[in-house]
């Protein structure tokens, strides 16, 4: 038994949109709630979401259409009951954000405006210019302040404490002092975001290292569908920075080296606004077949004219100028597909509960699953808001019905030893070297097009990197803001995730959504319409499969 210095009824880990939305919901449900985050809430990666958030707010749209588009986009791997919740609750969630202060862009008559987005049968993406995530993040943070939710900023969670399948809290590192301590909670919600940094030149923030997913996995929570990694079609070649799908939503073209709008070859109806997996594969095919421009294709916004670009897409204009040296008003922007979103995550039910008692997850770190094999643009921040709130309500409910559970006495010393091992090792390996190697392996072996031999080799390489990690040494032994130490913890997490992604991908012998195999080109519903579930075991990751919750929509051929 360990005395915890800090305890809260509900403890939310992660202060992006899902985490803060969960915390506000739990607080409003009347329980004592706190957030732990490794960065200040406003530094969270949710703020980087650009183009918008989907909801059938327009009179002639319907949430059922949004539901269908989401399921079709997922290549039928989404759980249809979860996707139903997502889409049915979307309009009211948007309006709730609006009532809280979010300044969505408007039509002339004062109603919330929408723009077209990929894979959608209707222009149903609400937006704030091209800073949608940033403005919603502000709004939700404002609610955190208004509701007086405690936030432990720059606290790095190193482990989730589970015993007898009951969650008891977390061990956390106060980055400003180096102190490791136990935090008890009746219910824990993970909203720790994506794992994009497992890949090279991801659109993701340097903090999107998937720690939460790995920590949950180590504590015994199963993870689901991690092999589905979305490559966003439009990222800058130099550093992987995202250029919103909203650019194509506003009418931008994709051109190859011959100046052709090639997308209609691949998606005869929707063209540039096909689903992201489709567009990324099309771009990569063009590049592989020699019609690329220095390893890129071109995103052409010139015909939108300066006024429209400045009004609707000012941020991406500046990003292109700063990072690609190219003003989209005058020249097409070279772009390529880049790792962007982790469809899979901690396996949770539609109340956001995991299989571990008292442990919940929401947002990108979770798999509810609403995105299945491919997420639609504009559905990610929608998921954070809708399921963040649900997770908060569920956790509050659980906390009211349960008491604090005892903390195993080894929990804290285990983590102290882990840190000491990194300080005391005589090894010669460097975190940065192994991280770069891992990202290169993942991009080379688990890219947009995959095959058996390449993936099998990739699995081995990832395992070799895991072995080398045992010899990692860090020079910084200070207690105050030891970011070398936290980067080592992050790499530790990412190496777990790399293996999980690799094993799931290698095992899935079909092409579905973002998982495209050149040796199994077709979707195989007979054998593979099922979720990959990976659980930790003493022998290593254990694969199993779980059925997809079907419903109204039967799988059809997916054409855009």
């Amino acid at each position: 038994m360990v005395d915890a210095a800090i305890q809260h009824d509900v403890l939310v880990v992660g202060a992006g949109l899902a985490g803060m939305r969960a915390a506000v919901a739990a607080r409003e449900a009347g329980v004592d709630t706190a957030i732990i985050s490794k960065v200040h809430p406003m530094r969270s990666h949710s703020g980087a979401a650009q183009g918008g958030i989907n909801a059938a707010v327009a009179k002639d749209d319907s949430w059922e259409n949004h539901w269908f588009d989401t399921v079709k986009g997922s290549d039928y791997l989404a759980d249809q009951d979860a996707a139903e919740i997502l889409t049915r609750l979307a309009p009211d969630n948007i309006r709730e954000l609006e009532h809280q202060g979010c300044l969505f862009s408007r039509w002339q008559d004062g109603r919330i405006a929408t723009r077209p987005f990929g894979g959608a049968g209707f222009p149903r993406t609400c937006f704030v210019a091209d800073i949608t995530g940033h403005v919603i993040l502000q709004t939700v943070y404002e609610q955190v302040l208004k509701n007086g939710v405690t936030v432990y900023e720059e606290f790095f969670v190193v482990s989730l404490i589970v015993e007898d399948n009951v969650c008891r809290g977390v061990i956390t590192l106060d980055m400003s002092t180096g102190k490791l301590s136990a935090v008890r909670a009746k219910a824990v919600v993970f909203a720790t975001g994506g794992s994009g940094r497992v890949f090279y030149k991801s659109t993701n923030s340097l903090i999107s290292t998937g720690d939460g997913v790995a920590i949950a996995y180590r504590a015994g929570a199963p993870v689901e569908d991690m092999e589905f990694i979305q490559f966003h079609p439009t990222t800058l070649a130099s550093n992987g920075v995202l250029i919103t799908e909203g650019a194509r939503g506003e009418g931008a073209y994709l051109l190859n080296s011959e100046g052709d709008r090639f997308m209609f070859k691949y998606a005869p109806t929707k063209g540039e606004l096909a689903s992201r997996d489709v567009v990324s594969r099309a771009e990569w095919t063009e590049i592989l077949e020699g019609r690329g421009v220095n390893g890129c294709v071109l995103l052409d916004l010139r015909h939108l004219c300066e006024a429209r670009i400045q009004e609707r897409l000012p941020q991406i204009r500046e990003l292109a100028i700063d990072f690609a040296g190219c003003d989209p008003v005058n020249a097409p922007v070279p772009i390529k597909p880049g790792a962007h979103y982790t469809m899979g995550g901690i396996r949770v039910d539609k109340t956001c509960a995991s299989t571990v008692q008292g442990f919940f997850a929401a947002g990108e770190c979770s798999a509810v699953s609403v995105h299945g094999a491919n997420r639609l643009g504009g559905n990610s921040i929608l998921e954070t808001v809708v399921f963040g709130k649900i997770a908060g309500v569920s956790a509050a409910q659980y906390a009211r019905e349960h008491d604090y559970a005892s903390f195993p006495s080894s929990a804290l010393p285990d983590q102290e030893s882990r840190r000491n091992a990194l300080f005391q090792t005589t090894g010669k390996e460097k975190v940065a070297v192994l991280r770069d190697a891992m990202q290169a392996v993942m991009n080379e072996h688990f890219h947009i097009f995959r095959n058996e031999a390449q993936m099998a080799a990739g699995v081995n390489k990832v395992r070799q990197l895991r072995e080398r990690f045992a010899n990692v040494a860090i020079n910084d032994h200070s207690m105050v803001f030891n970011t070398a130490l936290t980067e080592a913890f992050e790499l530790d997490a990412m190496l777990d995730l790399a293996e999980i992604i690799a094993l799931g991908a290698l095992a899935r012998k079909e092409s579905r959504g973002a998982h495209a195999r050149i040796d199994y080109k077709d979707r195989d519903d007979a054998n593979w319409l099922k979720h990959t579930v990976i659980t930790r075991s003493p022998e290593g990751p254990k694969l199993s499969y779980a059925p997809v919750t079907m419903g109204k929509f039967q799988p059809m051929e997916r054409v855009y």
Binding site: G47, A48, G101, D109, R111, L145, E318, K430, S478, N482
Partner: protein
């Protein structure tokens, strides 16, 4: 491209005072200063501590002072400094906040000011639409706060502001820009209460240095502050030295076309405020002895009538 980073280092457990360390780099031509810092951390010294996250100017983590001016370093190319003739980049932590380690500062005073402006919408409960409807807000009504929304709370302007540097009471440019976002929001019901509180938080303490106009996200807090001042006077919140100064100044110019500073100072102190006048007296005597107190007739343009006509057309009521 070669460059030299001279980085201020400070580890509280080891150092009694900060010192500078030198790092030589040879990076690609478009590399940002953040790329440089990451390269140093990855391949030269893993103990270098700095905040960073999105690396594309949306999270606001990586603000620091480069050759004397605060920059969001993910958005600042090394070449931009080299082009200025400074291949040596002196990198120090932000100002006005305590250094915790290397380039990391304690931002809690910054966040306190942010919270002080009650940065959340406070609507009239009777006017909140039902859950299935939004407020009707036209694009024109959104326009005044559009720039404010860009603010990523990076504290670049807070660190460069000359007032925050010496006055911990001053709310600072980002908190005031945030306040402007709510004051101009047609859905908010606490406009007047907010403005009254802003006077206490330093609305009139901005010294017009315009450092904050060089915002990495084009927020333009200086303009937001000016706009708040205008709105507060329009709202009748004039019983404070700042608003009085502004109104008397304008009145003085309206009278003769030029400012009569001596009279302005006396009027602001209050002609009948004897202690105040006495307190100012030594300065007045010093100025007088140096021939620095001119006769009022020098402060008159040739055609004050023309000026008055302009005031009559565009002036606020109370100056006419």
């Amino acid at each position: 491209m070669k460059s030299t980073f001279l980085i201020q280092r400070y580890v509280p457990e080891q150092d009694s005072a900060p010192h500078v360390e030198r790092y030589e780099l040879d990076l690609w031509d478009e590399a940002t200063i953040l790329d440089g810092l990451l390269a140093i951390k990855d391949s030269q010294d893993d103990s270098l501590a700095f905040r960073r996250a999105c690396r594309h100017a949306i999270c606001g983590s990586c603000s620091m002072v480069v050759n004397g001016y605060t920059k969001l370093v993910c958005k600042t190319a090394i070449a931009s400094e080299v082009k200025r003739g400074r291949s040596e980049l002196k990198i120090t932590p932000m100002r006005s906040m305590k250094v915790l380690k290397d380039l990391i500062v304690d931002m809690s005073p910054f966040w306190k000011h942010f919270r002080d402006v009650e940065p959340w919408l406070q609507p009239d409960p009777a006017k909140v639409p039902p859950p299935n409807e939004e407020y009707r807000v036209t694009p024109q009504q959104l326009a005044p706060s559009r720039k404010d929304l860009n603010c990523i709370l990076c504290a670049v302007c807070f660190s460069d502001c000359g007032v925050t540097e010496v006055d911990s009471h001053f709310a600072g440019p980002p908190a005031l820009a945030k306040a402007h976002r709510f004051v101009t929001d047609p859905r908010d019901s606490k406009r007047k209460e907010r403005l009254e509180k802003l006077v206490d938080l330093g609305l009139w303490d901005c010294a017009h240095a315009y450092n904050c106009m060089e915002c990495p996200k084009h927020v333009d807090p200086a303009h937001a502050i000016a706009d708040l001042r205008r709105i507060s006077i329009e709202a009748g919140i004039t019983n404070n030295i700042g608003a009085k100064h502004s109104q008397q100044f304008t009145k003085s110019v309206g009278r003769n076309g030029r400012l009569d500073e001596t009279r302005l100072v006396m009027e602001l102190t209050g002609i009948t405020n004897v202690t105040g006048q006495i307190r100012n007296a030594p300065q007045g005597v010093r100025m007088l002895l140096k021939g620095k107190l001119p006769l009022p007739m020098h402060q008159k343009v040739d055609n004050p009538k023309e000026v008055r006509r302009i005031f009559e057309t565009v002036g606020t009521k109370d100056e006419q």
